[in-house]
């Protein structure tokens, strides 16, 4: 469905993309993760044909992006990060306008716009000016505007930034429905839980390169980060942590915290608590250190995702 090969782009002396390659199959949900300035937006901009690469090739639905931009644009939908709507127009007028750009007959657009308004729970407010909407409602229309022409591929650039929980849940439901219906989706987000929840595969991008990609399990295998039970104890009894650390095969102590590494943390937790009790250690807090995208990302890039 999408074939990206050796994509390169520089702005002056800054190399924004340095040989990005990936393939996305039909109906796949692909997450693109990276800190600010990693090259996510540049990649999306090139894939959506508003930016030309210096080098590289992009094939979308069999069309070469550079040679057939219009054909490519007809099969993709882009949900921009910012709310790109006309505030003085109503939701219906906005949808009718954005749909008209794809040369769909007016009757078809209207029907589709009403379907989407119902899907996003905004049918009753369809005639109200967008400027009277809440942030979450605007974001819903922002998404609907990208779906009018029933694209085969959807680029979603942080679609849930700054919205209320109700709108977020509704958007999640719609995203899942679109995925179930077979739409190919490329999703960029800062929210790890969203990527973990939706993505079939994830590409981690940093300094203009994809440094790792695969399913969440495949990424977990690639990282050196291990799961652990972390015990925090009273300073007065912290010295005794050394006793039980020596009993555990893979562990370490930092001040009044002890890390007990394990492949099955939940099962081992009770054992560790028992050891602490036996040693007379007064436990203040117990937590799991999980291997998740956040830790994988930190391990691979040395940066927090929000850096």
């Amino acid at each position: 469905m999408i074939h990206v090969s050796n994509l390169q782009k520089s702005f002056g002396h800054v190399q924004a993309l340095n040989g990005i390659s990936f393939n996305i199959t039909d109906g796949e949900f692909y997450g693109l993760l990276g800190p600010n300035g990693a090259g996510k937006t540049t990649t999306i901009s090139i894939l959506s044909s508003i930016l030309k690469p210096d080098e590289g090739e992009v094939i979308i639905s069999g069309y070469n992006l550079l040679k057939n931009p219009v054909e490519c644009k007809n099969v993709i939908g882009v949900i921009p990060q910012e709310i790109a709507l006309y505030n003085e127009l109503s939701a219906l007028e906005n949808l009718m306008f954005w749909g008209s750009l794809y040369l769909i007959p007016a009757g078809t657009i209207r029907k589709r716009a009403i379907e989407l308004l119902q899907l996003f729970g905004l049918f009753e407010r369809r005639k109200d000016k967008v400027k009277t909407y809440s942030g979450g409602m605007k974001r819903r229309i922002n998404i609907a505007a990208a779906l009018l022409h029933k694209p085969e591929i959807l680029f979603m650039d942080e679609p849930t930034v700054g919205i209320d929980p109700q709108s977020r849940n509704l958007i999640f439901e719609v995203i899942e429905k679109l995925h179930r219906d077979g739409m190919t989706i490329i999703y960029t987000t800062h929210y790890m839980e969203e990527a973990e929840r939706f993505c079939d595969r994830i590409g981690i991008i940093d300094n203009g390169q994809i440094i790792a990609q695969g399913t969440l399990n495949e990424l977990k295998m690639e990282t050196s980060v291990k799961e652990a039970v972390v015990i925090t104890c009273e300073l007065a009894t912290a010295g005794r942590l050394n006793e039980i650390i020596s009993l555990w095969k893979d562990s370490k102590r930092i001040d009044n915290k002890a890390y007990f590494y394990s492949g099955k943390v939940r099962e081992d937790m009770s054992k560790i608590i028992q050891l602490c009790n036996q040693a007379g250690i007064e436990i203040l807090n117990i937590e799991f250190q999980k291997t998740n995208l956040e830790t994988i990302f930190l391990d691979l890039t040395g940066k927090q995702l929000r850096d």
Binding site: S49, I50, V70, V78, P80, A84, W98, L101
Partner: protein, 419 residues
């Protein structure tokens, strides 16, 4: 309080844009207006005024008269056939034409009134009045440059004193001789010769272009000048809409669609044109209803000028927007450019009362060509096939096209930077 004031002053001094708006732009505008109103030279007006002259007498005396007029520093005499000169006046290219009629030499010899006529455009009455005042002293001295003047003046006095006794006639002749010798030797200044002898002092004044309805030149000036200036402000706002789209992300979204990026700009140009046409039409219809501007009789011409003006002005709005990167930049730039164009182009004061170099500068503004074209329609009543009128329309279209082409190039360049 003191600290707040000092902080504010520091912020003010660090804000270059505000400094520019506060000091540099007003100074630039004052300079411009001072030039426009001719106040830069407080002494005599040193502009060279072109005066077409038609010599229908073709005598030695009429040629001598033209030579004398040509010695005036402020005048540039251009001899023209009568019809060509009248056409130039009718088309607004000249203010008036001085005609030395047949019998000029005979009148000089006979001591009669000189058959001199100034045919002019009523819209330029102020200039023509000043011209008349500067011509009279020279014309009044023309008899002194001919050898026959004493004879002709004697004849004139003879005619005047026909019923008087020989003694009185002799006394008057003696006084005349004395006075004539004084003027000839320069004892009495030339300017006073007219009051002394009262010859050549009358110029027949004929309005060649004049009001046929309520469309006075002042009304046309007021309506056309204001309409074009206000239109420029409106289209600057429409141009800013393009930058708003860029800032709000809708332009990016438009680019995601299969629409050709050029068509986005063309769409803006079309909407700017439609709004401009509507605005101009409403302003002229209002002027017609409220002030009696005859828009019905001149409708075809008016419509052509409105279309050409709307095209040029809307191109200006898009042109401005394509150069700037933010709405704020356009606002500052637009205000400055529109005020300058309106000042030099005749929206604020008629171009013909400005100094000559300002009149030459006026041609770079849209306002000038549009206002002149409106004068052609409402005042000079030129037919829409007239070449002078069409040339102004063509220039407006040319200005609009050049600005649209440049805007398109700049827009393409800016689009690539959008992502």
């Amino acid at each position: 309080m003191k600290r707040i004031a000092i902080k504010d002053l520091k912020l003010f001094l660090k804000d270059r844009k505000t400094m520019l708006i506060t000091f540099a732009i007003p100074v630039a505008l004052i300079t411009l207006f001072a030039f426009a109103f001719g106040g830069i030279n407080t002494g005599e007006d040193d502009r060279e005024y072109t005066l077409p002259i038609t010599d229908l007498d073709q005598s030695e005396y009429s040629k001598e008269a033209i030579l004398r007029l040509d010695t005036l520093k402020s005048l540039k005499i251009v001899e023209m056939p009568l019809e060509q000169a009248r056409q130039a006046v009718r088309k607004g290219n000249e203010d008036g034409v001085l005609i030395l009629h047949k019998g000029f030499a005979d009148s000089l010899r006979d001591g009669g009134r000189l058959p001199v006529e100034l045919q002019y455009d009523q819209a330029k009455e102020m200039q023509i009045g000043m011209l008349q005042q500067s011509l009279i002293p020279t014309l009044s001295m023309i008899p002194f440059s001919t050898g026959d003047v004493k004879k002709s003046m004697s004849r004139r006095f003879d005619k005047m004193m026909a019923g008087s006794s020989p003694k009185i006639r002799e006394e008057v002749n003696t006084q005349f001789d004395s006075l004539f010798n004084s003027v000839s030797r320069g004892i009495i200044p030339e300017n006073n010769a007219n009051s002394a002898f009262d010859f050549g002092s009358e110029i027949k004044m004929t309005k060649l272009v004049m009001a046929k309805d309520k469309s006075s030149p002042n009304l046309i000036q007021a309506v056309a000048g204001t309409a074009v200036m206000m239109l420029l402000f409106s289209v600057a706002g429409i141009g800013m809409g393009l930058l708003d789209e860029k800032q709000e992300g809708t332009l990016k979204r438009l680019l995601y669609s299969p629409v050709n990026p050029n068509k986005i700009l063309f769409g803006k140009i079309i909407s700017a044109n439609v709004i401009s046409i509507a605005q101009l039409l409403i302003m002229f219809v209002f002027a017609g209803i409220a002030f009696g501007l005859d828009i019905i009789r001149h409708f075809p011409g008016m419509l052509i000028v409105i279309l050409a003006t709307a095209y040029a002005c809307s191109a200006f709005g898009v042109f401005l927007a394509s150069f700037a990167s933010t709405r704020q930049q356009v606002q500052g730039l637009a205000t400055l450019i529109i005020l300058v164009m309106s000042a030099i182009g005749g929206s604020m004061i008629p171009v013909f009362i400005m100094p000559v170099f300002m009149q030459k500068l006026a041609v770079i503004s849209v306002n000038y060509w549009s206002i002149q074209a409106f004068y052609d329609v409402f005042w000079r009543a030129l037919p829409i096939t007239d070449l002078t009128f069409l040339s102004r329309i063509l220039i407006l279209i040319l200005i609009g096209t050049i600005m649209n082409v440049v805007a398109l190039r700049m827009y393409r360049k800016n689009i690539l930077r959008i992502a």
